[in-house]
């Protein structure tokens, strides 16, 4: 019996060795996961872009700014007094936080009143907002503890001298699903468009039906388009289902334009289809195309900002994420659904997706021609 089992093992190992891609994957997957989880993902993000709108040019506000800087949580930029700028910066995603110090802050503090500080936060991703808000609170308290001396020392006792008003934009209740459900759109579309397309094309070549198809008057491009369209429609149905669930069941607010969302979704679907088709021209079997799709999906889920805050990642991981289509699509969906982006704000990310479509589409068509002709 042992000899027979041994024969099986020997044969199996030999076959594994014949398929280098499987072996590569076996080493590749854990390494990628280790790197992503070990280095890239950080649930306590640092260096979040914070803009201080200091409208009173007092010693207090200067010391608050420097205290914020020393926390390490923020990359602080100061802007001159200009009401209304805060909203724009947050809407565009330039800043995640805007701390507004009112003009009469110092005066009211000295007078013994309890002046307000307004902290506006982009709360689309509540996970990355929470710890940062605590850090702002602490920094303000520390700065004032140092400054409230001499005649003002009495303010150190009693209620906190400053009232920090937090304004969570776009997701006032900090509901996680408002952030994840729109992101799911990207992940679900990626799974279907990339994995299913690449496998369905590979199946034709693997089973020998492609040969038969191409011996008929069907042109290679006609085969390609014919294979893509059904998946395109499938993706459309999926989008409707996810959106329906998001709005009806999870009560995700939809403040933007549906037309714009449909447009960017079409674009993202095309990018994913092109990628799936490209994969199918690079692999030899359905198993390999499945693995290649997983290799794409995993970083898409982890790095795109879907599961973990984009800003919490080191720069190299952010660059990597920039190369992944879902990163841009997720920003677009969140921007449109939660922040009410109109098309001018959607242009930069859309352009990146278009560039990807152009590159992937060209590769897909070229490689495909080479394999069939």
């Amino acid at each position: 019996m042992w000899q027979r089992i041994g024969a099986m093992i020997f044969k199996e190992v030999r076959q594994m060795a014949r398929d280098p891609s499987t072996i590569a994957m076996m080493f590749f997957f854990p390494i990628i996961q280790l790197v992503i989880f070990g280095y890239a993902i950080n649930n306590d993000p640092r260096h979040l872009p914070l803009v201080v709108e200091a409208n009173d040019n007092s010693a207090f506000s200067r010391s608050i700014v420097s205290a914020l800087r020393t926390t390490g949580y923020f990359d602080v930029t100061e802007v001159a007094g200009n009401y209304g700028q805060a909203d724009r910066l947050i809407a565009e995603g330039e800043a995640q936080f805007v701390l507004t110090i009112p003009t009469d802050f110092a005066r009211r503090l000295v007078r013994g009143e309890r002046p307000q500080l307004l902290l506006a936060a982009d709360a689309t991703d509540p996970a990355s907002t929470g710890p940062a808000v605590a850090a702002v609170n602490e920094a303000v308290a520390r700065a004032l503890a140092r400054d409230l001396i001499g005649p003002l020392a009495g303010r150190q006792q009693g209620p906190p001298p400053v009232d920090l008003v937090l304004h969570r934009s776009y997701n006032p209740e900090g509901i996680t699903s408002h952030n994840t459900v729109p992101g799911l759109l990207a992940i679900i579309l990626s799974m279907t468009m990339v994995a299913l397309t690449s496998m369905s094309v590979t199946r034709e070549t693997e089973q020998g039906t492609m040969e038969n198809l191409l011996a008929t008057p069907l042109r290679p491009v006609e085969v390609m388009v014919g294979k893509i369209v059904p998946y395109f429609l499938l993706g459309f149905v999926q989008v409707c289902v996810v959106l329906g669930f998001a709005i009806v069941v999870f009560e995700v607010p939809f403040v933007g334009s549906l037309g714009l969302l449909v447009a960017v979704t079409l674009l993202f679907t095309l990018v994913s289809l092109a990628l799936g088709f490209t994969i199918s021209t690079l692999v030899e079997s359905q198993v390999q195309s499945m693995m290649a799709s997983m290799l794409y999906l995993m970083p898409s889920i982890l790095l795109s900002g879907f599961a973990f805050p984009y800003r919490g990642m080191p720069v190299w991981a952010q660059w990597l994420a920039e190369l992944l289509p879902p990163t841009h699509y997720i920003r677009l969906v969140r921007g449109i659904m939660l922040k009410g982006w109109e098309w001018p704000l959607a242009v930069p990310e859309s352009l990146k997706l278009m560039a990807m479509l152009l590159v992937l589409g060209t590769i897909a068509v070229r490689r495909y021609r080479d394999t069939v002709a």
Partner: protein
């Protein structure tokens, strides 16, 4: 019959990397003829068929298929050619009728339902129309593949080892159909390993390691080989093959049941070679078989598929 050949290719050559798979092949088939395409495994038969039907672009060579230029009119050629691939190339998760319907759509045939029904009827597949193609046995798969290849009434039918793994009765029926199609004017180019199938063809072409070694009718190919054969019968004749093959003047010797079949190129030398056994085994002259000719030709050809790897 018109005098214009259905297939006329000259100097067809295809290289995959450093290996020349098809080397300078000429082939002419007149309309309504069945041409058997023979040769050992890996000799370039499939590659040649794929070049003729426009699936592969030749590296060198030229030709006309149905009067259409092979290099420039591949698409027009595809409309008039039926190609049955070596591996079953239809969709196993579609039913027989659905597969045929798909093919009918692809060729843009009119009266689609009618044609599908006719094709099913003609091939005796009507009762199985709703069966999934993947669940069919080898013989039925082959029938379906043939049905799909001829439904658009092509002028040329290319068959790549169509009867591999099919039982004798199904093979017989298959060949009857091929002859019926040819009688209707269809030109057939069929690759095969079976000698009995070769003998059912009007003419044959023998290719080994990418090189065309013999062409013509069976009689012409045998006569052209210059082989003579002896049939030996007597006690223990079949056990002498290995020994006799070593003798000068003997090209090959093979046992057939209890008798022995010996071939050579020189009648006198062959007689002399079997002389030592003449006392107990009676050798009589016989016609060399097609198989003799092919094995002889193959031994003379150089195998380029091994050394180039």
């Amino acid at each position: 019959m018109s005098a214009v050949p259905a297939i006329a290719v000259r100097g067809l050559t295809k290289r995959f990397g450093p290996r020349t798979v098809v080397d300078n092949i000429d082939l002419t088939v007149m309309p309504g003829r069945i041409c058997g395409f023979l040769g050992p495994n890996g000799s370039g038969k499939t590659t040649t068929l794929r070049m003729i039907c426009g699936l592969l672009i030749p590296d060198a060579g030229e030709g006309e298929v149905l009067g259409l230029d092979l290099a420039r009119q591949r698409r027009a050629i595809k409309h008039q050619i039926g190609y049955m691939t070596q591996k079953f190339g239809l969709f196993s998760d579609l039913s027989i009728a659905e597969n045929l319907e798909f093919i009918a759509r692809v060729y843009g045939l009119d009266r689609r339902q009618e044609r599908v029904a006719q094709t099913l009827e003609r091939l005796g597949l009507t009762s199985r129309a709703d069966q999934l193609a993947g669940k069919l046995s080898g013989g039925w798969k082959q029938r379906l593949a043939l049905a799909a290849a001829v439904m658009h009434e092509p002028k040329i039918l290319l068959l790549d080892e169509p009867t591999a793994g099919v039982d004798p009765q199904a093979r017989r029926e298959f060949w009857d159909q091929i002859h019926a199609l040819a009688a209707g004017g269809m030109t057939v180019l069929v690759s095969t390993h079976y000698m009995d199938e070769a003998e059912r063809c009007h003419e044959i072409a023998y290719i080994a390691y990418g090189v065309m070694l013999a062409r013509g009718t069976i009689g012409a190919v045998i006569a052209g080989s210059g082989l003579v054969a002896l049939h030996g019968e007597g006690p223990g004749a079949d056990r002498l093959a290995a020994e006799i093959e070593q003798r000068p003047g003997v090209a090959m010797a093979a046992p057939f049941g209890t008798s022995l079949h010996v071939c050579g190129t020189d009648p006198a030398a062959l007689r002399q070679a079997v002389e030592p056994w003449a006392d107990r085994i009676r050798f009589t002259p016989t016609e060399p078989s097609l198989e003799d000719v092919f094995i002889h030709l193959m031994r003379g050809a150089t195998d380029n598929s091994v050394e180039a790897r």
